[in-house]
């Protein structure tokens, strides 16, 4: 008999790098700039209302990407600053750090952007963001009642996210 289909959350999560309360917040955007998810664990400062905050965050990522695509020192054929890129095209970035926080960023070729803001001394979270992308696939994308492109309201996803984030930052 032949079998196919189905899945589990693989690969298994990367080994915990920290334990504590060092994660501040997380954003998930789709490629149309819709904020699908915003989680906040430990954020003392709110300078803007939620909607402006999300928009500013998306704008920052978008502009930083056009900046890194233009600055790429290994590529001579880059076109002008801000020239529209196909998603996955051009040099992107995976994190930046300020004195008060570190922002880790990943983007799937389908335009899903996952942003995790943690303590400035957090290590490389690239594998962890990939794992979160897998959680998103399992708990959100595969939920037949979830309408793609709408804000995520899944307790199961939130809970597993909270648990997981606690192990990495």
């Amino acid at each position: 008999m032949q079998f196919f289909g189905g899945s589990e959350i693989s690969p298994s999560p990367p080994v915990p790098t920290a334990s504590g309360n060092n994660a501040h917040m997380m954003y998930v955007f789709n490629r149309n700039g819709v904020c699908l998810l915003y989680r906040e664990w430990n954020r003392l400062l709110h300078t803007l209302n939620a909607q402006q905050d999300h928009k500013l965050m998306f704008g920052l990522l978008f502009s930083l990407k056009s900046l890194t695509a233009k600055m790429d020192p290994t590529n001579a054929e880059k076109g002008n600053l801000g020239v529209p890129q196909l998603s996955g095209q051009g040099c992107s970035f995976h994190s930046f750090r300020t004195n008060t926080y570190k922002l880790s960023f990943m983007e799937s070729p389908s335009g899903i952007k996952i942003i995790l803001v943690t303590h400035p001394r957090t290590g490389d979270l690239r594998e962890s963001l990939k794992y979160i992308y897998n959680l998103y696939v399992e708990y959100v994308v595969k939920n037949p009642l979830y309408a793609p492109g709408t804000p995520i309201r899944s307790e199961l996803f939130n809970t597993s996210l909270d648990q997981y984030v606690r192990t990495i930052a």
Partner: protein, 165 residues
């Protein structure tokens, strides 16, 4: 017997030449200095592919200036002073902002060490050879030969230090 300053520099430079053959990649790609209103006042390219023309470098500088401000507004806690390190796919960007609002940033190979101290050194050179020069107009593009000379020495020295690791 002791080597003169000139000799020691010559020696270092010849060292760099021989090392360059073994490690053809430049560790530092470029350096930018931006004044407090986001205007580019200095840009030097150390061998990146497809270096930028004046227009592009001006636009990149002003974009970086605003990204730097926005990153402060998004901080989860108070006291944020902007992006210090940006890790891109093919390069790292280290940025140092003086208390007076002048920004210095280097673009280098991913994982290059000691860039913070190099930026501090460059800041000192800027105070010595740019700000103290009575003919330098504040906030205007830097055209100071002494700064150029000392800067290239600092960058070379940094390369030697890195290769000596």
């Amino acid at each position: 017997m002791c080597m003169s300053h000139q000799d020691s520099i010559a020696l270092k430079l010849s060292l760099i030449d021989s090392e360059k053959k073994r490690f053809p990649m430049a560790a530092i790609y470029s350096l930018y200095i931006i004044n407090k209103s986001g205007g580019l006042i200095f840009y030097k390219d150390y061998g990146s592919a497809g270096r930028m023309d004046t227009n592009d470098s001006l636009r990149v500088a002003s974009l970086w200036h605003s990204m730097h401000v926005i990153s402060q507004q998004l901080s989860p806690t108070t006291g944020c002073s902007g992006i210090e390190l940006l890790e891109a796919d093919t390069f790292d960007l280290h940025c140092f902002q003086s208390l007076t609002g002048t920004k210095f940033f280097v673009v280098c190979e991913p994982g290059t060490q000691h860039m913070e101290s190099l930026l501090k050194d460059i800041y000192e050179l800027y105070t010595d050879y740019v700000l103290k020069n009575p003919f330098y107009e504040m906030e205007m593009p830097i055209r100071c030969e002494l700064f150029d000379i000392n800067l290239s020495q600092a960058v070379q020295k940094d390369r030697v230090a890195m290769l000596g690791r």
